[in-house]
Amino acid sequence: MSEEKPKATCGKKIDRRDFLQGLAGVPVLGAFALAALKQESYRRSRKAQAVASGAAQGGAADLNVALLGVGAQGDVLLNSMLKIPGLRFRAVCDIWSEYNLRRAANLLKKYGHEVNSYEDYRDMLDKETGLDAVIIATPDFWHAEHTVACLQAGLHVYCEKEMSNTLEGARRMVQAARATGKLLQIGHQRRSNPRYIFTHDVLLRELNLLGRMVTAGGQWNRSAAPDLGWPKKYEIPAGRLRQYGFNSMHQFTNWRWYKNLGGGPIVDLGSHQIDVFSWFLGVNPKSVMASGGTDYYDPATHEWYDTVLAIYEYETPRGTVRAHYKTQTTNGSLGYYEQFMGDQGTLVLSESSQIGAVYREKTRAGSWDEWVRKGYLGEPKIIETRADDTARDSLDVRETISPDEHKIALSFFDPYHKPHLENFFNAVRGHATLNCPAQTGYESAVAVLKVNEAVEAKRTLYFTPEEFHV
């Protein structure tokens, strides 16, 4: 039987051998099924563990949470919250009932949360009893109305940045929080990011690593991108769109670019980083000038500026600090980060975890070895001029010695928004104070919204100290 041809298929009747050899793949398929099942049940049990340690656990101490606005960011927040223990989701509200609302409710169901779905937030506030908190991630121009109504209904509110597209709206939010005594956290999540907190509290305040800060900078570069689309079969009827302040599906998905609805990239992206300027420098800005315009996209559908450069001045207790900020939406290279420079060192920090380092000015700063030993900083990486760099014959005398680079010795791998949400829920439980309460969010909005005004005015605009208070 060692020499054989597969000639058993010669039109004869099927015999035992045909049968056995014909089905030779079946046991292999069985083995495959076993392996795939094992893998899948492992995956499921991992997921179930995550759920059990997290959201779906019932219990008296659970907070009852509603979601208002579950688009792109609402989805991000929800996925972060599903990793936070002690939350019970009760209701979801979104005007896009055909799509986003359904997606969020389905996701919650998968995690064991039976939620009621609403299209109109007033309906939700009427019918839902026993809610503790609401997470608002609707477009900016809805924030004030939604937040004020929820606070007045007795709920604690986490509202996404930008606090509002108008200062008048933002003021009403601060006042409502004050009047109701409910908590209002604004979604500048860097304020709760452990890397940012460590940098601010330890490296800047305690160790004063940068010395006398003189300049700051920041940028958010994004690649050119087509306008956001939508699945045609889930289009919202025109009547409902109008009812909620949108005149087309295009405007509904691309609200950020429209005056009266959003604030454009400077407000969308810049607000996070301009907020960090004020936080790290410890003061609100004194003035701002800015240049901007819709240089690349169609101004008919991009009413707000696609490119903005702004310059702020800050009067800190140790002297003036000038800060520049750039946002552009036509090239994503070099990404997004903030940077602070003092006479003893430079800090470069970003929410993106690859970027985070301080650079020691060798000529002025003392030794940082102690901070490396204590684990605050990574070991110095010496940035050398390469000896084999044939392109230049000698080091230019005007160049100074390049600084040592130290990575910030604190990594953070959770979803970016999770600590900020945790801070909010801890505050609701009375175990923490808010990292970005209404007043702080307001000050940040004052600083940011003025950029668009400055672009229009084409001159330096000054802030008065009173402007920052409600």
């Binding site: 060692s2 597969p6 099927i14 014909g22």
Partner: protein, 167 residues
């Protein structure tokens, strides 16, 4: 050269090769299916070389992308089943060759093309896709399914007189 006959162990090794490739296809498909939200988007967007525009265009059409995703998942599963069971084997092998060729053309390992999705090995012109594709060509040409596979039974049922494969 004409009358080379394969020994039993040679046939078994070829059948094993077919089943192994089938296993790989099947799990690639099943895993994507179970994941629920898998999409070819990232892979297509990474495309380099002369077909890059075409692949990126596909990624940019939501409706088309959905079709591509489903075709890929179910293609992988059916091809995997076919190869593993030896059912419609030639069709499965041909389908597998086509799919792999598309993966290869989307992101070919040519001189001077760099990908941000890291590969687990080092390749120039030939990568594991091509190895698998070549193995499928062998399996397309050598009818292992008549040695071991559902096709052996099907052939008899359909009473088609088969070609004598090994000569």
């Amino acid at each position: 050269m004409k009358n080379i006959q394969l020994s039993r162990i040679q046939w078994i090794s070829l059948v094993a090769l077919r089943m192994i490739i089938g296993w790989h296809f099947l799990y690639e498909g099943v895993a994507k299916l179970l994941k629920g939200n898998w999409s070819a988007y990232g892979f297509l967007m990474e495309s380099k070389w002369i077909f890059a525009d075409l692949f990126r265009w596909m990624a940019g059409q939501p409706a088309l992308l959905e079709v591509v995703n489903a075709a890929n998942i179910w293609g992988l599963i059916l091809i995997g089943l076919g190869l593993m069971l030896g059912a419609f084997t030639r069709l499965a092998a041909a389908g597998g060759i086509l799919l792999i060729a598309l993966y290869y053309l989307c992101n070919p390992p040519f001189v001077g093309l760099f990908y941000s999705i890291p590969a687990e090995g080092n390749y120039i012109f030939i990568n594991k896709n091509i190895v698998e594709l070549a193995a499928l060509v062998v399996l397309l040409l050598i009818p292992t399914q008549q040695m071991a596979g559902v096709d052996r039974i099907l052939a008899k049922l359909l009473k088609k007189s088969p070609r004598n494969p090994a000569s």
